[in-house]
Symmetry: C2
Subunit: 754 residues, 2 copies
């Protein structure tokens, strides 16, 4: 067991906070409603950075992933949510609600108006009851404030039988409640399943009211029992109500401690909020978020892009959640993070963003993955409710490890991390092979690709190749030559699914499903635009798109595609062709730019690939087009599921002017949006990025200076950013020759040609 080293971190934090001791409040630029509608599934409620408690409204029939659904009824306010997840719902536990009059256990939801979301405060009016609600939260506790009309029957109740449920739905397991006094209540709710097919998880709570109840009661299986203070668990749904007289004092407040350990721990967690003033948690939240947001000070006359930017950064740091001290699965002094949902989404930009601005947290996250491997068989791809599952395609936790490693992050047990990666690459996970590790591994390790005998053969093979490069990267760093050599070879496995005979729009050679006898899939209905979900050979992508996904060896990919010119033409076509495939197979057909559905992660890196052929101005054009047309500050302003801040991270990086090739020490320059951006890092260093003339029209880099010296390449090393300095861009309305003959970004084939 490793000791967590707090002191250096605190010192660093102190230095850093001192450096950023500004009075500026960046949280004003954050609108938590951006992306809450239109399929973004952004969580609009209150939460701290990495905060366990995410307190917010659950609507309608509790069918939406983050709880919120505009224009429907509010069912109540629950304490656990994910941000931006697609697929089946998760969480929505320990739901509080207020009403007036007689208790109605069946039909207590209310239409709403005046919904307002800001950092650390959510407010709404329940029009059915004329109740004003304000919510705030600390890491492990929620604060509710209900302002009632004058009534002798002002009710606040907790419904332990409620949770979010839609497709792939969560299932109720059990609940228990105990009223301890006329101001105190505790209990738990137990739920299983959801998108990650988890076993049962238990959310405990302890709540304290500021007002004595006039009357109270509990229910079980829908049967109200006035005056009864306790309900036991026969796999039954229970709850409790407190009724107040608000003829004089109209506002009732309740603090709710949440825990995954037990009720006493929930009570201890409640103590995070000392006073009965909602401004206490609200201001704590504002301060905590400002510590992060102030690390990037941007100047621009375009207020909207500032709003989108800070809202994006905000969403990046909502997850994964720091569950340290809240691990009901094993005892360890290691950091413990959860709500990776899913790494398939977040390894690309979200975690690189965290690793750049919060490397201490980034290191803790990787170490938590290693700790999970040590206690729970494999590192996860997704993990929520303390349960790993599902894996979408590759074992992309490998990418997280490599990304942290190449970025010099500390306090990770790299030897153990390598073991965890090698387990992914060598031990089949079994059963439906969706829980963790690598499905179809038997094929991959025997014949070099995942055949059509398994699901997601093409997506898996391409992603495993990148994952194997990640393993090779760490092995090389640790001086494990044999392991390096083994996996650098396997990193070319994608070539085994490169079918040179498939042709589309004049381009030859595409990723293609292959049978385990070596023959190619021969199905007239299957095209380079065929796409599907878990059962398909292309997982949420299609051949045209996936064929560009060789992030570690674009050089080799260029050769396979017929050379630089063909590659560039193919990229051009990718961003201009109208999708001719079956539209209903794609997630967000309407959000496409050419074939690029930025609403989903598989294409995240593709706009930056022009860097590998020395045509950065094309990246600038595409990226700016996507930023301008696919994102907005409206509530549907996120192009697809935000996926734990993934859409936000893509926006945030690109508007700063660069984008990471995850797992590699490479940032590819795109087109800086802001006049000036001051990045402050945990090491106390500052990088000032200026972009003279940048505007909606002046999107092309004319020249660039790094620390005063001309930079004639369109990519940066991590050290060139994180150690501070200046990056000066001059922008213009037309493409320039900047960097077109510069050094190309590295590819695996540079040093290991096959």
């Amino acid at each position: 067991m490793r000791e967590r080293i707090f002191i250096p971190f605190l010192v660093a934090l102190f230095v850093f906070v001192s450096l950023n001791a500004e009075t500026k409040d960046y949280t004003h630029y954050v609108d938590p409603f951006i992306g809450a509608d239109g399929g973004g599934y952004v969580f609009p409620g209150v939460c701290m950075p990495y905060g366990m408690v995410k307190l917010g409204p659950d609507c309608n029939e509790l069918t939406e992933n983050a709880g919120w659904q505009s224009g429907t009824n509010v069912v109540g306010f629950s304490h656990t949510h994910l941000n931006g997840s697609g697929g089946g719902c998760k969480y929505g536990n320990v739901l509080f609600m207020a009403s007036t009059g007689d208790i109605d256990l069946e039909n207590y939801s209310s239409p709403y108006d005046q919904a307002e979301a800001q950092v650390g405060m959510f407010s709404i009016h329940l029009s059915k009851y004329d109740i004003y609600v304000r919510l705030s939260a600390t890491e492990h506790a929620g604060f509710h404030e209900y302002t009632f009309p004058e009534t002798q029957k002002a009710n606040i109740f907790v419904d332990l039988g409620k949770f979010l449920a839609s497709i792939e739905k969560q299932e109720f397991v059990g609940s228990e409640v105990r009223i301890l006094s006329d101001t105190e209540i505790e209990g738990y709710t137990r739920v299983r399943n959801g998108w990650n097919f988890s076993k049962a998880y238990t959310v405990y709570f302890y709540a304290k009211f500021d007002t004595h109840a006039e009357s109270l009661g509990t229910w079980k299986n829908g049967k109200a029992q006035a005056g009864v203070r306790s309900q036991s668990d026969e796999n039954t749904k229970c709850g409790a109500w407190f009724t107040f007289n608000t003829m004089e004092k109209k506002t009732v407040k309740v603090k709710v401690g949440i825990s995954y350990m037990g009720c006493n721990k929930a009570r201890e967690n409640l103590a995070e909020i000392a006073s009965w003033d909602i401004e206490e948690p609200h201001q704590r939240s504002v301060t905590a978020w400002n510590e992060i947001l102030s690390q990037i000070d941007v100047e621009t006359s375009a207020e909207e892009s500032k709003k989108i930017f800070y809202s994006s950064v905000y969403r990046i740091f909502m997850q994964p959640v720091d569950y340290s001290g809240e691990n009901p699965m094993w005892s360890s002094d290691e950091p413990y993070y959860g709500d990776y949902h899913a790494i398939w989404d977040t390894f690309r930009a979200t975690h690189p963003f965290i690793n750049l601005f919060r490397p201490t947290r980034g290191g803790e996250m990787v170490q938590s993955l290693v700790n999970i491997y040590e206690h729970d068989k494999f590192m996860p791809d997704a993990r929520s409710s303390h349960w790993s599952g599902r894996t979408q395609a590759g074992s992309n936790c490998d990418m997280l490890v490599a990304d942290a490693y190449v970025k010099g992050i500390k306090d990770v047990d790299w030897e153990q991390a390598l073991k965890a990666m090698i387990k992914n690459a060598t031990v089949p996970p079994g059963d439906d092979e969706r829980q963790y590790g690598r499905g179809g591994l038997w094929d991959y390790n025997r014949i070099g690709y995942v055949s059509t005998s398994f699901e997601r053969g093409c997506s898996r093979t391409f992603e495993y190749s990148a994952n194997d490069y990640a393993i090779a990267t760490l092995a090389k760093g640790l001086g494990k030559t044999e392991i390096y050599q083994e996996f650098i070879k396997k990193a070319s496995s994608w070539e085994n699914l490169w079918n040179p005979n498939i042709e589309s729009f004049g381009f030859k050679g595409f990723a293609w499903p292959r049978n385990n006898d070596g023959t190619w899939l021969d199905d007239p209905d299957f095209t380079v635009f065929s796409s599907g979900s878990f059962e398909h050979q292309f997982y949420e992508t299609f051949s045209w798109e996936l064929s560009f996904y060789v992030p570690h060896d674009i050089k080799r990919l260029i050769t396979k595609m017929g050379g630089k010119e063909q590659f560039t033409k193919r990229l051009d076509s990718y961003f201009t062709i109208t999708f001719p495939g079956k539209r209903d197979e794609l997630l967000f057909y309407t959000k496409m730019v050419g074939l690029c559905q930025i609403s989903n992660e598989p294409c995240f890196l593709t706009p930056s690939l022009y860097a590998y052929v020395g045509e950065p101005y094309k990246t600038a054009r595409i990226v700016r087009q996507i930023l301008a047309t696919q994102y907005s500050s409206a509530s549907d302003g996120v192009p697809g599921n935000d996926d734990s801040g993934s859409m936000g991270a893509w926006y945030a990086f690109h508007s700063l002017g660069f984008y990471p090739n995850a797992g590699q020490d490479v940032y590819l320059i795109s087109s800086p949006v802001f006049k000036r951006a001051t990045l402050t890092f945990e090491n106390g260093k500052q990088m000032i990025i200026t972009s003279i003339n940048s505007s909606d029209k002046n999107i092309y880099i004319q020249s660039c200076k790094l620390n005063g010296k001309q930079l004639d390449r369109c990519w940066l090393r991590h050290s060139e950013i994180v150690n501070g300095g200046t990056l000066e861009f001059i922008m213009g309305p037309e493409p320039s020759t900047w960097a077109i003959n510069g050094e190309l970004p590295p590819s695996m084939s540079d040093s290991d040609p096959f």
Copy 2:
């Protein structure tokens, strides 16, 4: 979801109880200490049939599997145990202890004397403190009675940081405690791992004292805090003490409700014990056990064998545990049983015994396996703490299903059961392949055997063959011809590991490890006596022994071994050769009869195999020899780990005079021990077995009449027993010609020759 049909069961039970309304107390013949020493790991504490609470003493460093360790110190009395398990410990949760004087959190164990165990009551004297302890229990609650010396400091405390732990050890996760008043306390302890490598499980309790404490306190991480009533869980060990003044009233009683759901449920469970009189739970236990024990009334002048017999039957019904109403993993109206530990042990005799005498329970158990499959991916081989794992070799849950099916058991969803079996046979379980399902399945389904590329290749292949026959059996019954044909073929897979060139003691042809390229293992150190554990090709067996394990096709095995004469000679040798292998590879070398180590399950059926060559007198000789030499009424009177009543079931069946070939409608007659045995079944029918002249010397059957007609075969159908009647044996001191030319028991090859 199926409704549990209670009414017919209750009617049947009523009829049955009425029929058996005897005044005779069979529990007097039960000595729970038989097998508690000498590696039997029998649990000597108190429990109801299928009872969740198993309250008993934990000794020494809490290293013994059932808690008890003769001659050491008693640490306390915990509420959860397994009976007879080997390997790593499990349970030992919610430990209560008493002391006098100042509380010593470090060193509170005590030497003991006057330990006495009977059905429903355990008593012991803690000599360090001069405290007399009596324990009793209902299904979900424990009753403790502590009689102190005259002292102002009589302490009873609960240590939530204690649990059983040795090899493959359980690990502490967390605990919480709340003192509710000077007579009430509740909390939980959370532990993970143990033999089945389980994730964390939580045991909640609520306890009520009959006496007001003079003072009390709690501790956390070894630090006592007088007067502090609550401790929260930071993955920390906590506990609490209640101190009484026993200068006048010397006896303090405490009732402890246990639950896997929550504290309120534990409180509800405590209500099972209404009074403060220990005779209440004690008598309830005696009554419940008599209901079972009275189903078999035996007459014999040998009191010791009666004692061994009823103690054996007692142990059969201690597990699996009926956890219905105590399922924290999912909600279902189905029966829910746990503490299958492990089916590899119990499918052979324990479950057939339950299926014969308690078919309603037997059906519930099978249905619970199906329900586990539906909610937890696979049926288990072993399952405890609501977690499936490990699998020792085959997916022997298949045998349980088939056994229940061929014995006409009702209320099982057979279609779903078949799906669950087919999943075992088709979907690799993954990871270490020890959790459930069939490891090495890739090989087995591709090349017909589990090669040396996997662990336990020989044991798995032979057991999978039997399991496949079980699948075929059910498929045939359900009219699924294709499935039947597929699996009846696979049931011959053992032949693929039959190496005709291996020779030993003049016999040719043995089970042998085979590589995946078809070549045989060629290792001069590997012999027909080589044996090992999970990593070995022969799991807790060796080639000589495993080569007899083709329970479904002895006819074919006889052919493979060179015909009837060779087979018989080989069996004779098996029971007479002195084991020449490495002794330390075997579990209980000293308990061998020839090569037969009855202390372990793989040979359980072998003594009965003479039936298949018409030489039943040899079975009689071997069985009687084992009963007489390997079992006794001493505390070390069980030959090996009792393994959830497995050793007991072997004894019980054979002393009645027959033994099941599990999964088949066949009981093989051995040598009845008792003068008269009256078996009463759940259907109200009675079978009276008489054995005239039976004695230690008159062990050979001279003749047999079934329902008054001569029986000239040495095996019976289930219907010939369970529908009642008479079975009359005449015994003698010499082998007879009885049944030597009778119809042989069925083999797969009778109808499906390959």
